[in-house]
């Protein structure tokens, strides 16, 4: 019999509908896998009861001959950034320890309404700040992948959605939610050989998602293939009156529209993405991607995005500025931690609580944000960055005059070892060089696995599309997936 945990979202959904196996069998199989994978530290909270309840509902509906919901029988992982009613949600921080939301985020609520069950809350970089999953207050997530050099160096699963990427790659869940502020869905997907899409800003409601940088944060799915991402994205997207930036648009039927035929599509190759010191393997994979898209019928054109090099510095002003404002709500009064030293007044309590509750990277970003927004520096930093952001978005608009999509590598390297970049925050920030520009412009973008590097680690290719053209992005992703034939998976050691 097939191992049910090897199946993806579509295969599970279809199998449950056909009665090949029951939803309960699927849930049980994943629950066992999750309980045995503590070494990966991917789950912060396990919620087997939630997964079983959803499975029972699916099996009961099927037995009664009722139509099944779109995700009936599919158990998923939920990034801990999403507030889930009655289940501890900490955003992997100490300051939110003990917080149990009395409400459900719109995205998680939509997934439950679609019939999905929750296997647990996934570890992540604290408040989604990080590119390696080393900033969680509850320990690093360890990638299930290892280098083929005989060494056992623990590798980064990427960040911030590193619990999601590790859990999917290790077959602990068929799919999971992620959030992407500067690449936090795409970079971990690339590091672990899975797929993930960040939709257009505003597609998925941010209501009930712990805020990092509100003008950038966007939820999206991570899964083992493009079709599964399309199915998940359909369930997660849609207008929400509770989020003022939510787009009032119908959700397209992305799964139904999937086609790897790119005839008539023009794909741009941005010349500024050929950065210095990029490993030749990344360059070679990029060339393969170009050939695959040509083979799928696309025409390849060179384009220029002249302000690319300024995207990262602009991001590291805008994101911390918004974070410093958003994280002001953690003051020890309404929820989470309170540190009240003997004889302390209100201001002392705020300062002590925030000193004790935030990790070093979160403090670093709050301080950067406070600095760039402070009197005398606001225009030089924040206004300047917002103007550069306009120029970056304009670069993309100009590119769309000569192409429909862009193809780039997802990250400038394969997964690095844990600890390798921790001492140098700037080196860590530079890892997001290819994902940040499209985040600043609010565009849909996806990573799909393209191949392995010489040490046997996955490398990803990124497709960027026009605003609202998730279908174009998914289709190009599918064309790459069909040709890359990526079947590598980590060998279980955990």
């Amino acid at each position: 019999m097939t191992d049910l945990t090897d199946l993806g979202v579509a295969a599970i959904r279809d199998g449950v509908r056909l009665g090949t196996f029951s939803a309960r069998e699927v849930a049980d199989a994943f629950i066992v896998k999750v309980s045995r994978a503590k070494a990966l530290n991917a789950f912060l909270v396990e919620t087997p009861d939630h997964a079983i309840a959803a499975a029972k509902e699916a099996d009961t509906a099927r037995a009664a001959g009722e139509a099944l919901k779109p995700l009936a029988g599919v158990p998923i992982g939920m990034k801990d950034l999403f507030c889930t009613k009655g289940v501890a949600s900490t955003a992997a921080s100490h300051i939110l320890e003990g917080f149990t939301p009395p409400y459900e985020s719109t995205v998680s609520g939509k997934l439950w309404n679609a019939g999905a069950g929750m296997l647990g809350k996934l570890n992540m970089d604290q408040f989604a700040m990080g590119s390696s999953n080393e900033t969680s207050a509850f320990g690093n997530v360890i990638s299930p992948w290892r280098r083929a050099d005989g060494g056992n160096a623990p590798l980064a699963p990427g960040g911030s959605s590193g619990g999601s990427s590790a859990a999917i790659a290790a077959r602990l869940c068929p799919a999971a939610t992620g959030t992407d502020t500067g690449g936090s869905i795409r970079q971990p997907a690339a590091f672990t050989g899975i797929s993930g899409i960040k939709p257009t800003y505003g597609r998925c409601s941010r209501w009930g998602v712990v805020a990092f940088a509100s003008s950038l944060d966007q939820a999206g799915p991570m899964a083992r293939n493009v079709k599964d991402c399309a199915i998940m994205l359909e369930a997660m997207s849609g207008f929400d009156p509770k989020d003022a930036t939510s787009l009032e648009l119908d959700v397209p039927r992305w799964e139904q529209g999937l086609s790897g035929n790119l005839r008539g599509k023009r794909v741009g190759i941005p010349k500024e993405y050929r950065v210095d010191n990029m490993p030749s393997e990344i360059d070679a994979l990029w060339q393969k991607g170009i050939d695959w898209l040509k083979d799928a019928g696309a025409e390849i054109v060179e384009v220029s995005l002249p302000h690319t090099k300024y995207a990262l510095p602009a991001y590291y002003i805008i994101a911390p500025a918004e974070a410093s404002s958003n994280l002001a709500r953690y003051d020890g009064v309404r929820y989470g931690l309170r540190d009240l030293p003997e004889g302390a007044n209100l201001l002392d309590m705020y300062a002590a609580t925030r000193a004790a509750g935030f990790g070093p990277e979160v403090k670093r970003r709050i301080l950067i944000g406070t600095y760039v927004l402070s009197a005398g520096f606001y225009d030089a930093y924040y206004t300047q960055a917002q103007k550069v952001r306009t120029l970056i978005a304009r670069d993309f608009d100009r590119a769309w005059e000569s192409c429909d999509l862009l193809l780039t590598p997802t990250a400038p390297s394969a997964a690095f070892a844990l600890g390798e970049k921790l001492a140098d925050p700037l080196a860590m920030y530079l890892n997001d060089v290819f994902t940040v520009p499209s985040s600043l412009a609010g565009l849909p973008a996806m990573s799909v696995p393209g191949g392995l590097d010489k040490s046997g680690l996955p490398l990803g290719l990124q497709i960027i599309g026009k605003a609202l053209d998730e279908q174009g992005v998914l289709n190009a992703g599918l064309a790459l997936e069909e040709r890359a034939g990526f079947v590598a998976r980590p060998e279980a050691w955990w």
Partner: protein
């Protein structure tokens, strides 16, 4: 522009985060390095460019001025580190 420990102490105070002298001494060179790298933004000519305020053109909606939610005091207070008589409690503010 360089970030020294005095600057770090000032922004930490604005950010309401208590820091020790050792932390300030450790953080100052880190922030100085990051801000030094960020400085390159200054070389971009932004003459006549409007700062971006909305990443996707989307008009803010207005809704009727009516209560859509409420009457959930206990839920609101359920996560408070300290609550009394239906209120959040804080250390004494007025002497």
């Amino acid at each position: 522009m360089s970030v020294d420990t005095a600057t770090v102490r000032k922004i930490a105070s604005l950010a309401r985060i208590a820091i020790t002298e050792e932390e300030a001494a450790r953080i100052a060179p880190e922030l100085d390095n990051i801000m030094g790298w960020i400085e390159q933004l200054g070389e971009v000519d932004v003459t006549g460019i409007e700062p971006m305020t909305a990443v996707i053109p989307n008009h803010l909606r207005l809704r009727d001025d009516v209560v859509t939610d409420g009457g959930v005091r206990d839920a609101v207070l359920s996560n408070a580190p300290q609550a009394e008589h239906g209120f959040f409690t804080v250390p004494k503010v007025i002497e």
